[in-house]
Amino acid sequence: MNERQVELEILRYDPETDQQPSFQIYLVPCQEDWVVLDAINYVKDNLDRTLSYRWSCHMAVCGSCGMMINGEPALSCKTFLRDLPETIRIEPLANFPIERDLVVVMDDFMNKLGKVKPYLLPREKKAVENGSYLQSPAQLKKFRQYTLCINCTLCYAACPQYAHNEGFVGPAALALAHRYNLDSRDVGRRARQDVVASNEGIWECSFVGACSDVCPEHVDPAGAIQQTKIASTIDYFKDLILPRRD
């Protein structure tokens, strides 16, 4: 296996000693099939034990290892060194406060995820003893894509609206609301409307589309938001013409 030397420029920040973050350079001997995470692990195990970062599965399904790699939000476990130049700039995920080194504060995202009521609000009540709800493969296909979000928040790092307005509910949370709205077993669209169809919900989005560009699971949150805009607008006019009785 061929080895090559790679230079990592990592943005460091220790709140107890630093006024602001600064770059530190590490020279790492790398295998040709390595990902950026392997290089970072090498740094931690052999060069600098003080480097803090998140990771777990190493197979792009847990969503822990999001970071800025040469200015682009990416999963470090699925970014291959073979696709990168010899100098790699690594920074914590954009648009989130830095806790320490490559670890960002996730509180805002976690709050927003909860706000959109991301759980099934069933159309019909059914006891577990009476079996599953029926759902055809076609019905499953309608929302399946939007179930694939691994909550890595690369989309928030890419979104200029979120960068400039931290109140924006954001791509992943809105895509998750859409996932439930499209699920044939769910009737929660109205219940989610307050948060989803608010000024800080879908209407903050100007369809930059960067979120969908960087999404590692091809969830297409931008598409989800535009579809929700159409659905909400139709709801709005329906309510205007035929006001609901409840």
């Binding site: 931690k44 195990d45 003080t50 803090s52 777990s56 969503g63 320490r100 991301p118 099934l120 599953s132």
Partner: protein, 584 residues
């Protein structure tokens, strides 16, 4: 030190922990729940499980079938009363998941689809494409957001159980973002922290699978049961160890050696056709498949690669449409991590450590021998998996026993009128704090975390791998003892407070060293071969002496003391594990 008083503490927010939390919130909405996890819940390793969750679904299947498959698969080391309960609860729990929105794959009639899986006579594995664990975890996490009673403490690393007067009354946990130790006082504690695959160098397991909860219970006096049984999943990617689901064999994938020969037929799993066929060939149990690889390797029939020897998993005959429909993640993983498109070429695979059958000794109610302490999921050993787990039983196990632990803890908490005396619990918490502080105070010991971890990895793979001998195990036990002494001299290079991962890794290493000692010693003492514990010097199963669970009891200085407890046998007497042949 800050004290948080609650009714129930759950350590671990993966499938079992979340299921327990929801069970408590539904059973008794007045109870307060503190759900602690060292990672955000969506990062829990449940997320990486792929193939499916087993539960009787079809009319041509029966609970008896599921029972027999599980007990046989476990080489009769399963407690049969527990297995009976498990198979009976399984369909209900999986249906409950569907009611919570889990996107199970469907048949054309709209019912939930099931696929064949290793060691199972009839197909009963519910699946969500090839990301079942991911979908289950996210469904459970999102559902948990409905319940205000569940208060989450994300990125809290639990270090110690707090025990007063023989009762477990809380945990001490480090708030990772501040480095402060917090004391949680509760009326019941549930541990759901997962397995310990990171003890080994090649594993499907993520970084977080370091046996923390197992070690906490172990040190508090609860024995670890059946630790010698470590499952090697037959198909992991070379180098990274990334899991390639058994589901790919369930859909018809085959394993061939360097001559393109389906070698499993040489190991009592044939004949090779008709294919696919349940319980035969590539749908045999995991222990037998991993052992077959080892033999092929000895015979020089495996394929050499820069990342070690492999065999080939061939999916080409399934066709692109089916692969995209049922195994899309497998295709993506193969292309990304080994540069192979399974539509055009076979995937290189080898056995890698995947699952810890053993764990915290608990009973059918998920209760441990320590009052107030429950355990569920991979960290626990009831035992329903025995000496070898069948694929897709563990995702269901999370639900059945997670719910059971939750309900048990809820009952206990509701019945307990008062909390433990504050002074007494603070004393225990102080002991915990001193233990952690010691890591900051060590200077000049010369031991590195990465170095000790590497040595542990090497000795455990060499000595306690797929095949073991007295000599190899003795060596591993000696090395682990030595590592434990050296660990006391580990010096932290990072002495900061905010998100100090050097500290967390040091604590994780400590947990792994303790658990690894239990694995090696239990394996040394079991002088027979059963399921995934194979001895070259004791090749046969010995039911007379060893139809028993091993129990490892922690000792702070010496190797653990091992004693035994009879397996609960109700209606299935130990027989031969027969796979292959004609389908029945």
């Amino acid at each position: 030190m800050d004290m948080i008083t609650t009714d129930i503490v759950i350590v671990g927010a993966g499938g079992a922990g979340l299921r327990a939390a929801i069970a408590i919130a539904e059973e008794n909405p007045d109870l307060d729940i503190a759900l602690l996890s060292k990672v955000y819940p969506m990062r829990s390793h449940t997320v990486a499980a792929e193939g499916g969750a087993a539960g009787v679904a079809k009319d041509n299947d029966s609970l008896d079938n599921h029972f027999n498959d599980t007990v046989t698969g476990g080489d009769w080391l399963c407690d049969q009363d527990a297995v009976d309960l498990f198979v009976e609860q399984a369909p209900k729990e999986l249906t409950q998941m569907e009611h919570w929105g889990c996107p199970w794959s469907r048949d054309s009639d709209g019912g939930v689809a099931v696929r064949p899986f290793g060691g199972m006579k009839v197909e009963r594995t519910w699946y969500a494409a090839d990301k079942t664990g991911f979908h289950m975890l996210h469904t459970l996490f999102q559902t948990s957001l409905k319940y205000p009673a569940i208060k989450r403490y994300d990125e809290f690393y639990s270090t110690d159980l707090l025990v007063v007067d023989g009762r477990c009354c809380g945990v001490a946990a480090i708030e990772m973002r501040s480095g402060q130790l917090r004391l949680f006082r509760a009326k019941a504690v549930i541990i759901a922290t997962g397995g310990a695959g990171r003890i080994f160098p090649f594993t499907t397991n993520g970084a977080i699978k370091t046996g923390d909860g197992m070690a906490m219970a172990y040190r508090a006096g609860v024995p670890l049961k059946d630790m010698e049984f470590i499952q090697y999943h037959p198909t992991g990617l070379p180098g990274t160890g990334i899991l390639i689901t058994e589901g790919s064999r369930g859909e018809g994938g085959i394993l061939v050696n360097k001559d393109g020969y389906r070698y499993l037929q040489d190991y009592d799993l044939g004949p090779p056709d008709p294919w696919p066929r349940k319980k035969a060939m590539e749908l045999g149990p995991r222990d037998r498949l991993s052992q077959a690889f080892w033999h092929e390797h000895q015979k020089g029939r495996t394929i050499d690669t820069p990342h070690g020897d492999v065999v080939h998993l061939d999916l080409r005959h399934l066709g692109e449409k089916m692969i995209n429909e049922r195994l899309p993640m497998v295709r993506d993983l193969a292309i990304s991590y080994v540069g192979i498109d399974p539509v055009d070429a076979p995937i290189p695979v080898r056995p890698v450590v995947h699952y810890t059958m053993g764990g915290i000794d608990c009973d059918i109610e998920a209760k441990t021998s320590l009052d107030g302490l429950f355990a569920a999921g991979e960290c626990a050993c009831v035992s329903i998996n025995g000496a070898n787990r069948l694929g897709s039983n563990s995702l269901t196990e999370l639900l059945v026993f997670g719910a059971r632990a939750g309900r048990g803890a809820a009952k206990l908490a509701a019945a307990s009128r008062s909390h433990t005396d504050e002074t007494a619990i603070r004393e225990q918490a102080q002991i915990a704090q001193n233990r952690v502080r010691k890591l900051f105070l060590n200077v000049g010991g010369g031991e590195s975390i990465a170095g000790l971890r590497r040595e542990m990895n090497i000795t455990m793979e060499a000595g306690a791998g797929i095949y073991r001998t007295e000599e190899s195990l003795n060596r591993s036990c000696a090395v682990m003892n030595d590592l434990r002494d050296r660990y006391a001299r580990v010096e932290l290079e990072d002495k900061s407070n905010v998100y100090n991962t050097d500290l967390i890794q040091a604590l994780e290493l400590g947990a792994m060293i303790d658990v690894a000692g239990a694995i090696a010693t239990s394996a040394l003492n079991r002088k027979e071969s059963r399921g995934s514990h194979q001895r070259l010097d004791f090749k046969e199963r010995n039911d007379e002496t060893y139809l028993k669970h091993s129990l490892a009891h922690y000792d702070a200085r010496e190797a653990p003391r091992i004693d035994y407890r009879d397996v609960v046998i109700t209606r299935s007497k130990p027989g031969a594990r027969v796979y292959g042949g004609e389908s029945k």
